[in-house]
């Protein structure tokens, strides 16, 4: 799996597709958003990729707790790292977009706060990892913290925004934006775009895992 080419090529092809349709595809004409609705393919997808990688992190944490194999911890660590990369990308792109549609780079929005919180949580995760010198103990404690953090984060970004008015579409607040959720045309681009960015993230993650495995073997020799 890690060495096969087909999904990497799929990722690249879908990325080209995303960029092509992202600039040239049909989009609904909506006030305020205008052309910026195309950011859906380049900003929201960052969060989706981050979310998938965070799920991977929690999943490999559970695997580690059951099997006590340090390889699982390695994967969990790298998942969190790449999730962080995508998270920062999502935050920066979101700030640019928000500045031009909502009037300020940071607005008090539950979705925004939730994602900022998840970045902080994963920053804390790395701090915890750095604080423990022993390999297996580090793996165990960070797996426990990672799983706990993941559940709290899901509550934050999935449940809380539904209970408050949000500027994001589909959550009270801005019904005018709601329309693009229904636009079938955009969906046909959005879903492939999510898959493209996620696969790219997984690719980056697997490369880092493989490099670190080589490092391990080097240290053993």
């Amino acid at each position: 799996m890690a060495r096969s080419w087909w999904w990497k090529i799929t990722a690249l092809v879908l990325l080209f597709f995303t960029y092509y349709e992202g600039f040239l595809g049909e989009i609904p004409r909506m006030p305020i958003l205008n052309e910026t609705i195309r950011n859906l393919y380049f900003h929201v997808t960052m969060w989706m990729a981050m979310l998938v990688l965070m799920i991977c992190n929690a999943f490999y944490g559970i695997l580690y707790l059951n099997k006590s194999d340090l390889y699982f911890d390695l994967v969990a660590d790298e998942c969190a790292r790449i999730a962080m990369v995508f998270g920062i990308a999502g935050l920066l792109t979101g700030m640019v977009w928000a500045n031009y549609t909502w009037g300020a780079p940071w607005v008090n929005d539950p979705q925004l706060n939730g994602t900022a919180a998840s970045l902080l949580i994963y920053a804390a995760y790395f701090i915890l990892r750095n604080a423990i010198p022993d390999d297996s103990k580090r793996a165990r404690l960070s797996a426990v913290y990672g799983i706990f953090a993941f559940v709290m984060m899901i509550v934050f970004i999935m449940v809380l925004p539904k209970m408050t008015d949000s500027l994001h579409p589909g959550k009270g607040g801005n019904p005018g934006f709601n329309k693009y959720d229904l636009d079938a045309n955009m969906r046909m681009v959005f879903y492939p775009a999510v898959i493209a960015w996620t696969l790219l993230g997984v690719w980056m993650m697997s490369l880092r895992v493989r490099i670190r495995k080589i490092e391990w073997k080097n240290e053993d020799q």
Binding site: R3, K8, L12, L15, F16, Y19, Y20, F23, L24, P28, R29, M30, P31, N34, E35, D165, G172, G173, P175, G176, N178, K179, L200, W203, M204, L207, R210, I211, I214, K217, N218
Partner: protein
């Protein structure tokens, strides 16, 4: 609050459908074909990214094979 929001939503939806054609979009850029310049630039940057990713992938695979020997 809730009531206001539903009212607002009705107003906004009817507004956006009635005046959909008047929303300002980058139509000139499209008709002039300049948008293809943007696409070309984006594609070049993507191509470089792809090339780089594939290079790293092959490098790592090579290293793995060397480690196995």
């Amino acid at each position: 609050m809730k009531k206001n929001l539903t009212l607002l939503s009705i107003v906004m939806i009817s507004h956006s459908t009635a005046f959909a054609q008047e929303v300002e979009m980058a139509d000139t850029m499209r008709s002039e074909g300049k948008i293809y310049v943007v696409v070309a630039v984006a594609f070049i940057s993507l191509a470089i990214l792809s090339f780089y990713m594939i290079r790293i992938e092959r490098k790592v695979t090579k290293l793995e094979k060397e480690m196995k020997k």
